[in-house]
Structure formats: structure tokens, C-alpha cells
């Protein structure tokens, strides 16, 4: 047994990181927040070309036959760059809902990146993310997948996220696997928040090396060092749970809900603690909307309760240990 990414997986992560570093994602996020989805759609297309949108779709349906480990790698990078848009829904959740149903042909357009879609899955995901930017909006009702229309939009702390209250419409598919879809949504969100937390630690580290106060870089103060060291410990120990849960998904093991929830709990706690430490190390400048840090801070706060709150996931772990 090996417990490490393969060279191909490392390359995939690296290429995504390069692509996103060259894409001025903060500007894309600001435009998205203003309701200007153009730059975000363009980035969506580029990420589709890199294979991201096909990660959750079986090869026969237009996907690339990727493993859940690849999916996790992709979402960690999306989170690290704070990419806006309904990726969790289009790339992770809807493929799990549609595959194997008579409507599975819809997955080709999702896999190719031509179509953006979003979905609500009560009780834990009662609102659909970014319905205004999506070509298709769905709602899960028990084991029925329906088309839906937006009855109202709610603002999130993350201005690049808009949450829609939906009105259910016509039936798209019956007998969908809402349980597995929820696991995928939670896993992808865990990866995304972990990536965002890693970015926040990285920004704090860079800032602490440069910023001088009392005649020396603030990173030389033990109080700063220890906050960031603790943040790093949290993130480093959360990541293995994420990859462990992806492997459980590969095998569809009986421990799937336990492993996904453990990953979501640990990634969320670690990323949130990293976000608090990062803001504290940045001081007032981190609190300003102009400085990019706010894009990550608000995204982490928003993802804390997305696809299952911490109490929900802790209860799932405990139930699985009974």
C-alpha cells in the first residue's frame, strides 16, 4: 500500500495551480460577485480543457474516468485559488445524481464544460449555489431529481456566492442516489475549504516575512510563529483524512459516511483556524476588501456550513462508530 499522490496526480495539481496562478482569479471572483459571469465562464472553459469538469463523470458518459482522488486534488486547487462558481454541484454532485438514470446523457455537456448546473439537496443544502449563473437548476426531493426555478436569491458572506431558494418543477430522474451525491458534495467541499485554508496560511507566511514592526519582520515574533505553526499542523493532519475519504469512495466501503464526515470536520476546523490566524497576522490590512485576503476569508466562512454543518458531520462520525 502506498499513501501518497502518484506522479501523474502531482502533475495534475501542478498544472492546475499554474493555470490558476496565471488567471487573476481574484479579478474573476470580483466580477462574479458583481453578477458579471463572463470571466468566470471563460475560466470554467479553461478548467474544462484541463479536465476539471469531467472529473466526476464516467468515461462512457463523456468523462475521463478519473478517481475520487483526482477529484479531491482538483477541488483542493479550486479552493486554493478561490475560484467562484458551482463546481461542487456541476462536477461532483450532479454526476452522482444523473449517472445511471435515463437523463445521464446530460452529463456530456457538464463534463465538457459547455453547461454549468447547480442543485439543492435538502436538508443540509437547502439552497442552490449560483443559480443565476447556471444553465440548469435542479432540486433533489427524496430520490427524485427535478428541474427548478429560482424564487428568491440570498446573499452570502462570500459575495461571489449567491444562494437561491428554489421552486421545484418537472421530474428529470427518479431513483437518484441522493446519499452518494451528498457524500460527493461534502467531500468536494472539504477539499475546497482545505485548499482555501492552505492559501490563507501561505499568504500569512509571506506577509509575516515581509512586514516589519518594532524594527523586525513580524514573523520573527514567537506569537506569530506559533499561531502559524498551529495552523500548519491542523492543515497537514486534515489532508490525509481527505485522501482517505477519497479512497473510501473508490471502494464504496461501508465506512464511507464516516470517512467523508471525518474529512469534512477536520478540513473545516483546520481551514477556519488558519483563516483566523491569517487575519490576525495580517492585522487591519487583512480586514479590507481591496486586499485579496478577504476573498479567501469569506469563502472559508461560507464553506464552514456548506454541504453539512460541523454538528451534522460529527454526528455522522459518531453514529458510524457505534
Amino acid at each position: 500500500m502506498r499513501f501518497a499522490p502518484s506522479p501523474e496526480q502531482r502533475d495534475f495539481a501542478g498544472s492546475l495551480r499554474d493555470l490558476l496562478a496565471a488567471s487573476d482569479v481574484p479579478a474573476v471572483g470580483r466580477a462574479w460577485a458583481r453578477g458579471d459571469f463572463g470571466p468566470g465562464r471563460k475560466l470554467w472553459t479553461r478548467l474544462a480543457e484541463a479536465g476539471v469538469t469531467a472529473l466526476g463523470v464516467p468515461e462512457a458518459l463523456g468523462g475521463v474516468g478519473a478517481s475520487p482522488v483526482d477529484l479531491v486534488i482538483g477541488f483542493e486547487e479550486l479552493g486554493r485559488a478561490a475560484v467562484p462558481g458551482p463546481y461542487v454541484e456541476s462536477v461532483a454532485v450532479l454526476p452522482a445524481l444523473l449517472a445511471g438514470t435515463p437523463s445521464q446523457s446530460r452529463l456530456a455537456a457538464l463534463a465538457s464544460g459547455e453547461a454549468l448546473a447547480t442543485v439543492a439537496l435538502a436538508p443540509h443544502t437547502p439552497f442552490a449555489l449560483d443559480a443565476g449563473a447556471a444553465d440548469d437548476v435542479f432540486v433533489v426531493d427524496g430520490s427524485t431529481l427535478r428541474a427548478a426555478t429560482v424564487s428568491r436569491e440570498l446573499a452570502s458572506v462570500d459575495r461571489a456566492r449567491r444562494l437561491a431558494v428554489l421552486t421545484p418543477g418537472t421530474v428529470i430522474a427518479e431513483g437518484v442516489d441522493a446519499v452518494r451525491a451528498f457524500e460527493l458534495g461534502a467531500l468536494a467541499t472539504a477539499a475546497q475549504i482545505l485548499g482555501a485554508g492552505e492559501a490563507l496560511l501561505d499568504k500569512a507566511r509571506t506577509y509575516a516575512r515581509q512586514r516589519v514592526q518594532f524594527g523586525r519582520p513580524i514573523g520573527s515574533f514567537q506569537a506569530v510563529k506559533h499561531q502559524l505553526a498551529d495552523a500548519m499542523v491542523g492543515l497537514e493532519l486534515a489532508r490525509p483524512l481527505l485522501y482517505g475519504a477519497a479512497l473510501a469512495l473508490v471502494d464504496s466501503t461501508a465506512t464511507l459516511s464516516r470517512d467523508v464526515s471525518a474529512a469534512k470536520v477536520a478540513c473545516t476546523d483546520a481551514a477556519y483556524r488558519a483563516s483566523r490566524a491569517s487575519l490576525q497576522v495580517h492585522g487591519a490590512i487583512g480586514y479590507t476588501a481591496e486586499y485579496d485576503l478577504a476573498l479567501w476569508l469569506t469563502k472559508v466562512r461560507a464553506l464552514v456550513s456548506a454541504w453539512g454543518t460541523q454538528p451534522v458531520h460529527r454526528a455522522r462520525v459518531l453514529a458510524a462508530l457505534q
Binding site: H124, A155, A284, A289, S305, T309
Partner: protein, 368 residues
């Protein structure tokens, strides 16, 4: 009076809440509210009556503040003037300055912004580079200030400038009061996490300030400012009522939205109330000590560390209580975002911990 007039009733904080004072409309609405308060002579109850107050004792004032927040009344847009500048003016101002500056401050006709930080001097005030050059009948101020709260909308500013270019660090600084609309002043808003320009940068280019607007002696600014900084930390004293009011709203939210079988969240609600109550009683103790002639001093750092952390965890608990709705914009989210600035402003919590350790626990200063 407060229950009838307060723009936000405590029973339903969602109704009638004033818009954020970091927006132009909100700022105007808050100024309007403070006019009403001043008309009722409730804007500065602890001041002498000839300056617009009611000669209230510290304890009476704490009780007033509690009533004020319990009624759901809003934070004060005048707070930088009333809580930061006014104590310094009382300590170091001339009778002429008091008579001229205090009444319009009490009425919120003149709203003050602090000009403490500079791009290269955040927590470290001694690193100030903005300068004051002597000129006929006064001084010319130049330089850049930043993180000035609501300077975009405020009328006047106060801060330190280097009046002796030769002197080092703490020396050669003078405390100036200046008009934010004077020639040579440019104010640029810095949008915050919530998108509103709650902070601003102030650029000064040969701004004339008459000698009458020097506070304390020339070159004595550090000492004068340290009393202000201690007051800024003493902001603590402003707020016990505020946290109890927040804690009561949290208990209400727990009843309305909470899952009663979730003791994990229930315990955090209990802790928030316990913390707010602790802070209230701690403040009673401080006020008693001050009334007995004690000084606030380094102990204000204890209060600041406590309330800033309490405020964050109280709001985190509220967001977590809201479940999947926790990420939505709204009053609790606004309060949460505001609370995040608590451990940063008015002396970061890291600096406050140094103060507690060195001045109250007697640990060696030395290196950090």
C-alpha cells in the same frame, strides 16, 4: 425614553435597525440619532453639564450604557471623539479648547476620526513618519495616515506628527487636531470585508493647523497620545451592556432556531452569556476601583483581551446556530465581521498579552 426612541428595538433587532454607519446613509442616520440623544442630554452623560453632559458618576454611566444597549440602541458614530479624544482633551486640553470643541462633539455636529496608524507604523506608533513643519501662527502637516475609522464621512481628525525631524522614535512628536475638509487633505475609503469603506486613508499635503489646535505641548505628543491609547484600550469600559445585549439576542436565537437537543451549541450559548455577565461584573469592579481613585492602567488590557475574544466566539456561536443558513448576510453576519476586528484594533491582542505579562505579571521585557 430609550425604549420609545431607539431606532432598533431590543425585542426584534431585525426591525428598524439603522443601516451600517460605514455607509453614507447609515452615517447620516446615526448622526441624526445622536442629535436626538443630545437633545435629551443623553449623548455624554458623564461630562460636565456646561459642556452638554449630566455630571454622571462612572457607575451611573455604566448603568446608563447598559440601559442603552438593552433597549437595542445602536453603537455610537461619535465614539472616536467621545471615548478616545475627549478623555485626552479633559486631561491635556486648555479651557479654550474644551469650550470650543466639546459641545459640537457632544451634539455630533463634529464627528472625529482618529489618525493613528501609518503604512509603516501599525502597532508601533513610535515609527511615525508624517511630519509637522513650523509656519507662521501654526504648522503645516504632511504625510499619510491609514486605518482611520470612518474618516470618509467624519469632520475632524486627531493624531501624532513628527514636529522635530532630528529626534528619534518617541521623541519629537506632537499631537494635532485638524480639519478633514481643510485644503491639502485627501481622504480615500478602504472597503472592508463587508464592502463598505469603514476605514480610510488620509493624505495630508501641507495642511495648515493653527497653534490653537495643538493638544498638549509641542514635542510632548507621545505622552499625550499614550493616555489616548490607554483610553482606546479603555473602550472596554464602553461596552458591558453591549455584550449582554448580544448574549441575550443569542439566547433568543437559540430558542428560536436552535436544536434543544444539541448540548454542544447550548453549552456555547451558556458560555457566551457567562462571558458577557463576567465582563459586566468585572466592569462594575473596575468602576468601583476608579471611583475610589484607582487608575485603569494596564488592567484595561485584560478587559480588551476578554471582550474581543468573547465577541468573536459569541458571533461564531450565532452563525453555527443558524445551521445551513449560517453563511447568509444579515445582522449576525455583520456583527461577526465587525467582531473580527476586535482582536486587531486598539492594540492587537498580541500586544495586549505582552502588556499583561510584563506589567501585571512582572515577566521580563527583554526580547519577544
Amino acid at each position: 425614553f430609550l425604549a420609545g426612541h431607539s431606532p432598533a428595538s431590543g425585542d426584534n433587532p431585525d426591525r428598524q435597525w439603522l443601516p451600517s454607519m460605514d455607509t453614507p446613509e447609515g452615517f447620516a442616520a446615526h448622526r441624526e440619532w445622536e442629535h436626538i440623544l443630545a437633545d435629551a442630554r443623553l449623548s455624554v452623560v458623564s461630562w460636565p453639564s456646561e459642556l452638554g453632559g449630566r455630571d454622571a458618576s462612572l457607575l451611573q454611566w455604566v448603568i446608563f450604557e447598559e440601559e442603552y444597549f438593552a433597549a437595542g440602541a445602536p453603537l455610537r458614530v461619535s465614539q472616536n471623539g467621545i471615548f478616545l479624544l475627549a478623555p485626552t482633551l479633559f486631561a491635556h486640553g486648555t479651557p479654550e479648547q474644551l469650550a470650543r470643541l466639546m459641545p459640537p462633539m457632544a451634539r455630533a455636529d463634529e464627528i472625529w476620526a482618529q489618525a493613528w496608524s501609518e503604512p509603516e507604523a501599525g502597532s508601533d506608533l513610535a515609527g511615525i513618519r508624517s511630519r509637522a513643519l513650523r509656519t507662521d501662527g501654526g504648522w503645516l502637516l504632511s504625510g499619510q495616515k491609514t486605518w482611520s475609522t470612518r474618516a470618509t464621512y467624519a469632520d475632524r481628525g486627531f493624531g501624532l506628527f513628527r514636529s522635530d525631524q532630528e529626534a528619534d522614535r518617541h521623541r519629537g512628536l506632537t499631537y494635532f487636531l485638524f480639519d478633514l475638509r481643510a485644503d491639502g487633505v485627501t481622504v480615500r475609503g478602504i472597503p472592508q470585508l463587508d464592502g463598505e469603506p469603514g476605514f480610510a486613508e488620509i493624505f495630508l499635503d501641507n495642511v495648515f493647523v493653527p497653534d490653537a489646535d495643538v493638544l498638549g505641548g509641542v514635542g510632548d505628543g507621545w505622552r499625550v497620545a499614550m493616555s489616548t491609547t490607554s483610553n482606546e484600550r479603555g473602550l472596554s469600559l464602553r461596552s458591558p451592556g453591549r455584550y449582554l445585549a448580544s448574549a441575550r439576542r443569542l439566547v433568543q436565537l437559540w430558542h428560536d432556531a436552535g436544536d434543544p437537543s444539541d448540548t454542544a451549541l447550548g453549552d456555547r450559548v451558556a458560555d457566551a452569556w457567562i462571558g458577557a455577565r463576567a465582563y459586566q461584573l468585572h466592569t462594575f469592579g473596575t468602576v468601583t476601583r476608579l471611583a475610589d481613585g484607582g487608575e485603569l492602567g494596564a488592567e484595561s488590557s485584560i478587559g480588551k483581551l476578554f471582550w474581543s475574544q468573547l465577541d468573536v466566539s459569541l458571533h461564531e456561536t450565532a452563525l453555527d446556530l443558524l445551521g445551513p443558513r449560517g453563511e447568509l448576510a444579515g445582522n449576525w453576519m455583520d456583527g461577526y465581521l465587525f467582531s473580527l476586528s476586535g482582536p486587531i484594533y486598539a492594540g492587537t491582542n498580541e500586544i495586549q498579552r505582552n502588556v499583561v505579562a510584563e506589567r501585571l505579571l512582572g515577566l521580563p521585557r527583554g526580547e519577544r
